[in-house]
Assembly symmetry: C2
Homo-oligomer: 271 residues x 2
Amino acid sequence: MKRSNRLVILTDYFMENPRKHIQLPFFVELCDTTKSSISEDLDIIDNVFKSQGLGYLERTTGAGGGVKYIPEVSAEKSLDFVESLRQKLEDPSRILPGGYLYMSDILGNPKLVREIGRVFASRFSKLNIDTVVTVATKGIPLAYAVASFLNVPVVIVRRDPKVTEGSSVSINYVSGSSRKIQTMVLPKRSLQDGSNVCIIDDFMKAGGTINGMISLLAEFNADVKAIGVLAEADDEEEERIVTDYTSLVKISNVDLSHKNIEVQTGNFALT
Amino acid sequence: MKRSNRLVILTDYFMENPRKHIQLPFFVELCDTTKSSISEDLDIIDNVFKSQGLGYLERTTGAGGGVKYIPEVSAEKSLDFVESLRQKLEDPSRILPGGYLYMSDILGNPKLVREIGRVFASRFSKLNIDTVVTVATKGIPLAYAVASFLNVPVVIVRRDPKVTEGSSVSINYVSGSSRKIQTMVLPKRSLQDGSNVCIIDDFMKAGGTINGMISLLAEFNADVKAIGVLAEADDEEEERIVTDYTSLVKISNVDLSHKNIEVQTGNFALT
């Protein structure tokens, strides 16, 4: 197979299989070529990925050696994307009662969701995360986007105990915004004991929901390596109970009567 | 820029932007090259995509002409994938009370979810779908996977009316399995009037939930072009009320006492 054809096949393969360890003989057979040709192809792809800010190829030598595509978008590209998000959100027609923001158009756009996922996955790239955890419903697409770049499964915590999932662990927690006692549940077989997890959600005020997830995950002896939220907002009535998190944007001064809203870059830019 | 580098960049671009119409001058500038070189690059990529069963490049000439990547997996590849899913599901340890099946591991695997999305998107490729609709919660990842290949937004119908989404349309429907009257709601601003939609869900028994979605979508004058479900199962107590759908697998003879389950290929293979 010619180099030009191989480059298309290999690029496609890496894009579809981020963080998958691939031994070179696999590509040699796939492309019906030699190991040294594949090696040169990988050099080309690695260089282009790096120069385009798409990540890099991690290569290991020796027995069982091979190559792995690490999709890490550059800090500069990430910040450009976050800025475009910030501008989209700073639209007074998004203000909803209760100081919430209409974000369903953004969360309903697979392309934007994927980019958000890429930004978080790049930031959390070195943390050896082996599961992404979110809570139903709005955080789900973001969690999948992050997980697809990290090549790990997603586990969804539910607010309504389902009888159709087998035995479960549940906890009660106090929601920051409503101050009501709510329940969260996770089926026992859905998460391995002692996992390194990353929590992803769309929105955080005081952090009651995320704090509930942390308590629930403790029952699975999970190590919460990172918390990523698309948007954080101040809760005037309550102090934040989750402090170690990464937010892309920060919503403040939502003024329903004057139809005014301020959206800043989240702490993502600071760290 | 050299051809080898251009091929990596263009392949990446197409994979990230399926069904996006791109005018050639964009690529000419991106790769700092000539129109005829880009044209040759596109020939190479088109040939590889076709030979690998990844889809094809749709090219249009004249003013405003350009290129669009249509990700259509071949029928053969689709059937191979569906067969692998079928085998995964035919595992007695998946049987849950009520004739349900534990599928969270499959629905929690971003790679498998993406493949399911690719299969549906390929099947519905010619239907001019402009929105994918699903109902919370388990169908959400599948809906995003389909939508990412069709390059359209996702709209999520909810069972619990949220106050944080603005004014909504809601309907009551009878759930096939529980025979209870339930409510479904969709915020008014989430779906444009007269959209061509495709409904995606993970599981269908009698079809009460999907029938409810059809009624709700009628309020938005939507044209339901296709319905795709990962798994269908017979409901012994009730006749199916949704008949025009595409299923990947069909679950039958779930026998809890003998720990036996039969999973067949769905009607996907027949049409």
